[in-house]
Structure formats: structure tokens, C-alpha cells
Amino acid sequence: MLNDLGEIILLSLEVSGIALLLSALVGLPIGISMGLGHFTGRRLVTALLYTGMGFPPVVIGLFVYLLLSRNGILGQINSPLIPSLFTPGAMILAQTIIAFPLVAGFTMAAVMGVDPQLRLQVLSLGATKNQAAMAILREARVGVVAAIVAGFGSIISEVGAVMLVGGNIEGRTRVMTTAIVLETRKGNFDLALSLGIVLLTITFFTNLALLRLQGRTAGK
């Protein structure tokens, strides 16, 4: 039982951890570029991003399910890069899509909140464009970390999409949220509650670790 529990916790962390990493790798540069840039169609892209932030995870799960199913666009391609349905890879894909708009959208908002004069002043001090972007990112770090925290929160607690594309298969794709649903249905409230407490504790300590990235600002 304890082994099973450990396996479920580890798989939850692995799936959500990798999904968060991937969404950050894609979402942070896009959020920074959108926060800094002024290009045609920016308003439309922003609207799409904000829509993505409110997209129901279960719909994303359905979308990924259809993509990866045998007759789906990706399901027909035989590539090691494309995960199969009912595998952790499919769950990672779904969670990455869920977290990405949150990471990119909040990062964009954080970057837009930085004083626009800062970039000019840093460039005037001799910064390259990349150094100026890093300076802005550093100034926006409170919001950027909030973006990552929001992304993590949205996927670690998510159940609909991982249930759809993962299938909640014991020993293969069962994560904490899907296990909670299953144990509740079976009437094992003690186990469901224990898993819930473990999930909350892990989320709390992960957020605590992420908050350390924000560092201290203005002596606060």
C-alpha cells in the first residue's frame, strides 16, 4: 500500500514537474517577448492567451485525447517524440498545454508592469538587448514566479485531463488527483483524505520553494 502511494506521489511529481518545466521553457520567452514587443496582431494573440488561461482542463484533455487517438492527427504519426494515449507522456502533454497560457500570460503581464523607462536606462548603461531583457525579467521576477506558481497550481490539482488521456491505470498513469477520485468513489474516504493532505502538503512546500526564487524586493 505504502509502495503504491509512493509510486502515485512520484508519478504526480514527475508528470507535473516535467509539464511545468516544458510550459516554462515555452511560456517564459513568449511571455517576455509579448510583454516587450509591439507587433501587429499582439492584441489578438493576447486575447487568445487570456482565453487559454481560462480554458477548462477537461476540454484540453479531450483535445489531446482526439489528437493522440489512433485516428488523430498526431496518433497517426509513429514517432518517439509523440506520446501514446494512456501513458505519462500523454498526461505531460495535456498538462503542458494547460499550464502554458498561465505561465506566458502572467509573465507577459509582469513584464508589462515593469517601468518602460527601465529598458532605455539599462541600454543607456551599455546593456546588450539580452542583458536588457534579463534586467526586465529580474525586475518582473515577483510576477514571473507567480506565473510559475499559477502554472504549477493548475496542473498538480488537475484531474479531468489526466483522467481522460492517462486513464488512471494502476501502476502506470495513476496520480494523486485521479487516485483521490477513485478512492472516494470506492468509499475509502480515509485514504482519499490522506492523499488530499499529501497533495496539499507537497503543493505548499513546492510553492514555498518557488517563492524563494522571488528573493527580497525593496527591503520587504
Binding site: Q117, L118, L120, G126, T128, E139
Partner: protein, 243 residues
């Protein structure tokens, strides 16, 4: 002293088709304290951004020493790093005073020189606040930090965009003394943008009046104030509307 550091020719800057600056010819000499005066919206700050190579002209050229830059030529980083600006509203980084002052050195991959950092902080009278967070400073102190972070880089040209606007007389006097010393002792070329004709008179050796993006008159400080050639210069100095 007489070597030309900036030579502007047929310089035009437009934003979305609106012409904000048109300078057929302007030379600024090395070691000069050059003041640009004019009302708001005259294009003074735009000109400073062009001189700092932070923006590209729409057409024309800027020759910095012997290197001529056109709109299609990217200004090398090492050239851009020889010029720096102190802006009207300093935006300090979310760091300590010391870290803000050494920031430009780190950008250049240079080690934080404790002696030179201490020296500039002493010069601006803020050594006692070196470990304090920069965002907790008053407006005058923040502007002095901005000046210190520019000074520590020992630029060939220091551009000052209304550096004392909204400051109290004590800070105005302090900043004026520092930039005067930089110009006289170190030979740093100064380009000062100001609304304040009295400040231009106190600091500059050469003064230019910019109106609606065009240079009306450029002259030595005495000639500019004592015997302006253009009636608009005289009107501006009398505080009359010259738009």
C-alpha cells in the same frame, strides 16, 4: 578641445510619419558642455536618444568621432558604451545603492572596482547609503545614484536629460557642481537638455535652441544669452510663448 565628437548631418527622425526632428547640421566638440534648450515637445529628448544610439534616425547621419553611422548601420556596442544618459526620472534597479552603481560595470564584464565605486558615491554624497535599498531613496538621492552609476563608467560623453527637474535647490546645486567638475576636470563631453535657461547659462559653453524639432540658433554661451541673433531665442529667454 576642438575636436568634433558628434557631427550630425541631414538628421531626420520621424515617428509613424510625423517628423519630430530635423537637423541639417550640428557639431558638438569633445570636452564641450553643450546645452539644448527649448520648450516641451521640441525634440530635445529625442535628440539625446539618438546621440546615445538608443534610437535610429529615420535618415541622415551621426558621425561619432570618425565613424559615420547611417540608419542602416548598427552601432557597435563598444561605441554605444562610450556614451551614457542620466534621465529626468531615474529608474533604479531593485538592488542596493552600491549594486546599482556597479551595474554598468557588470554589464561590461568588469569587476566591481571598490575604489572607483566608493569614490563616485563619495562624490555624490551617498557613501553612507551604499548598502541601503535604492528604492527607498528620495528623488534627489535617486538622481544622485543615477549620476553615480553613469560616472563610474567614465563615459566620453554624458548626456543629461533634465537631470534636476523637480529637485530641491540643494540637490540641483550638488548635481550641477558634480557635472561641472566632470566636464572641467575629466574633460567629459556634456550634452544637457534643460528647460531652465539659467541652468544652461551656469553649465554650458555652447547653447542651442530647439523649436518644433528644428535648431533655431546655436552659439557660445555668452553670445547666445547676450546677443541672440534669432528673435525667437530672445523671446524664449524672456519666457514668452514661442510655439
Amino acid at each position: 578641445m576642438n575636436q568634433v565628437i558628434y557631427s550630425l548631418r541631414q538628421l531626420i527622425k520621424e515617428y509613424t510619419g510625423r517628423r519630430v526632428l530635423e537637423i541639417p547640421q550640428l557639431d558638438i566638440r569633445r570636452g564641450e558642455a553643450f546645452a539644448l534648450v527649448g520648450p516641451s515637445g521640441a525634440g530635445k529628448s529625442t535628440l539625446l536618444r539618438l546621440l546615445n544610439f538608443l534610437e535610429t534616425p529615420s535618415s541622415g547621419s551621426i558621425t561619432f568621432e570618425d565613424i559615420e553611422f547611417h540608419p542602416d548601420i548598427e552601432v557597435p556596442l563598444e561605441v554605444r558604451r562610450r556614451v551614457t544618459t542620466v534621465f529626468q526620472r531615474p529608474v533604479l534597479l531593485d538592488l542596493t545603492v552600491w549594486e546599482n552603481v556597479t551595474y554598468g560595470l557588470h554589464l561590461r564584464g568588469l569587476k566591481d572596482s571598490a575604489d572607483s565605486t566608493r569614490a563616485v558615491l563619495e562624490q555624490v554624497g551617498l557613501i553612507h547609503l551604499a548598502r541601503q535599498h535604492a528604492r527607498t531613496l528620495s528623488g534627489g538621492e535617486a538622481q544622485r545614484v543615477a549620476l553615480a552609476r553613469a560616472m563610474v563608467l567614465q563615459p566620453d560623453v554624458l548626456l543629461l536629460d533634465e537631470p534636476t527637474a523637480n529637485l530641491d535647490p540643494y540637490n540641483v546645486g550638488l548635481i550641477e557642481d558634480i557635472v561641472r567638475e566632470l566636464n572641467k576636470e575629466r574633460g567629459t563631453t556634456l550634452v544637457l537638455v534643460t528647460h531652465n535657461v539659467f541652468q544652461a547659462r551656469r553649465l554650458a559653453s555652447q547653447v542651442a535652441l530647439l523649436l518644433e524639432g528644428k535648431l533655431v540658433e546655436v552659439a557660445g554661451v555668452e553670445a547666445f544669452f547676450q546677443s541672440p541673433k534669432d528673435p525667437r531665442t530672445a523671446a524664449f529667454m524672456r519666457g514668452e510663448m514661442v510655439y
